[in-house]
């Protein structure tokens, strides 16, 4: 059965997994993220397509992340991401800095089964200088034209939140096609959804246009308001008051622990 409990659905995310997650606008599985922290997941190689906000910061603060690969982590208008900033300065995580289209390109390379994808830009940047795994070749179709090649990123698991899924595991993602890239690139994909849709999403051509086929999906778990306190586009806005509270509490280690206690661990009883 593809529809599972949240905890069962998350079993595929093992310690040390390469876990790929989307940007805030695409639908972040925050309820699942809290469940992972409660379970004590560790040593994640977190890939955020192409940026992250609260999700990365919370996982880092909880000690769940060994390596982070993304283009930026912040709390947007609420300022820097406190756990991320502290971890980088303390050297407790390995940071693989990228630029947005490089993360897209590397995941699209995995999606297409090609070993690498070229990308313009990057030449002369320290992003490139700090990435020995990125190669520069002379464009075979040009002359003295250096171009960067990015190796494919193949996540073990992709995890995200979407408006709805059906019993076949088809997931309606609408315009959030980053979620399709993630699912195609990853070995396994776990999705939380606001609600279950009666019938088959692929039967209606209008809904099908925004549907990620169940073929790619390992498990779906029901998680109403599962992106909270982050927004779910076209469904609910961010809970900015809560995010401001997080920004304030996470500024100190003690405050972060209290946040975990109040907003992550307390849910264990729920």
């Amino acid at each position: 059965m593809i529809i599972r409990s949240l905890e069962t659905a998350l079993e595929a995310i093992h310690d040390g997994a390469v876990l790929a997650v989307p940007r805030e606008q695409s639908g972040v599985a925050m309820a699942a993220t809290r469940a992972l922290i409660r379970r004590g997941v560790g040593r994640l190689h977190l890939v955020a397509l192409p940026t992250s906000t609260l999700q990365a910061d919370l996982l880092i603060g909880a000690g769940a992340v060994a390596t982070l690969e993304t283009s930026a982590v912040s709390l947007g208008e609420l300022g820097p991401a406190p756990s991320f900033t502290a971890a980088i300065k303390a050297g407790t995580i390995v940071m693989k800095d990228a630029t947005c289209p490089a993360i897209y390109a590397a995941l699209q390379a995995a999606e297409k089964g090609i070993p690498f994808m070229p990308l313009r830009g990057l030449i002369g940047s320290d992003l490139l200088a700090h990435r020995p795994e990125w190669r520069v070749i002379d464009n075979p179709f040009g002359t003295n034209d250096p171009v960067v090649l990015l190796p494919a990123i193949k996540p073990d698991v992709a995890l995200f939140h979407a408006p709805m899924a059906d019993a076949q595991g088809n997931v309606w993602i609408g315009r959030q096609r980053d979620l399709s890239t993630l699912a195609h690139a990853a070995e396994r994909t776990i999705v939380t959804v606001e609600r279950l849709h009666d019938g088959n999403l692929l039967d209606d051509p209008v809904l099908a246009a925004g549907t990620l086929p169940g073929f790619y999906i390992e498990a779906v778990a029901l998680a109403p308001r599962g992106a909270w306190p982050l927004p779910l586009p076209d469904h609910y806005p961010a809970d900015t008051a809560h995010l401001a509270e997080y920004a304030k509490m996470a500024a100190t280690a003690a405050g972060f622990d209290k946040y975990l206690m109040n907003h992550v661990y307390e849910q264990r009883a729920a």
Partner: protein, 247 residues
Amino acid sequence: MSGPFRDEELLAAHVADLIGDVRHVAVGNASPIPATAALLARARGKGRPYVSLLGSRRHTFFTDGGVELFDCAGQGRIDVFFLSGGQIDGEANINLVSIGDHDKPTARFPGSFGSGYLYYVVPKVILFRTEHSRRTLVPKVDFISAPGASDPNVYRTGGPICLITNRCLFDFDRASRRFRLASLHPGHSLDEVIEHTGFDFDQPDAVPITKAPDAATLRLLREVVAPEVAEVYPQFAAHVFGFTRAA
């Protein structure tokens, strides 16, 4: 700054002028003044340019995921973009990553976002850093998220055209790889700019004053643009325009 307008209004109005008559302006993360400027340009242009505002549901036409912004730029279909930097140096290199040793930094910024690509391929990149100080405008950045200029053989269809701060506007000359002071904002002086700028820059014999926004512009900003900005930057819109969205 003097005048019956706020700094942010002066800057947004001036950036709207810099945008000029183009087809498509894109605005990335954490850019409230550029967003305001782009929406002002569109309000003036009666629907032209297209404005793609990251995080907006109203001002975006993208339906192919986050990659569409970058693909669009690669197609040559983005005319203007905005970048900032924790540090910006005199060659227009920008640093969005960290201060100090990269492996043991003393300060960490969010990260490079799309700069490592868009800085190369968008024809008009407007650099934006309201805090004009020797902390932000440095002789040499500690980390190059994206370089201001490239060797002639490097594929580069775009780059910086200017840098706008809370004190002045610099133009960037790609050939000499140097900034040139273009105008001082009302109430600011050349000496002050020199004092607070960490890099050398060229200057004209007489430095003009940045043109203040006229009444029509201010009205557009406050009545038409403010509510649109509030969609993505509610705190900014409340602070600058006193605009609060209905719950």
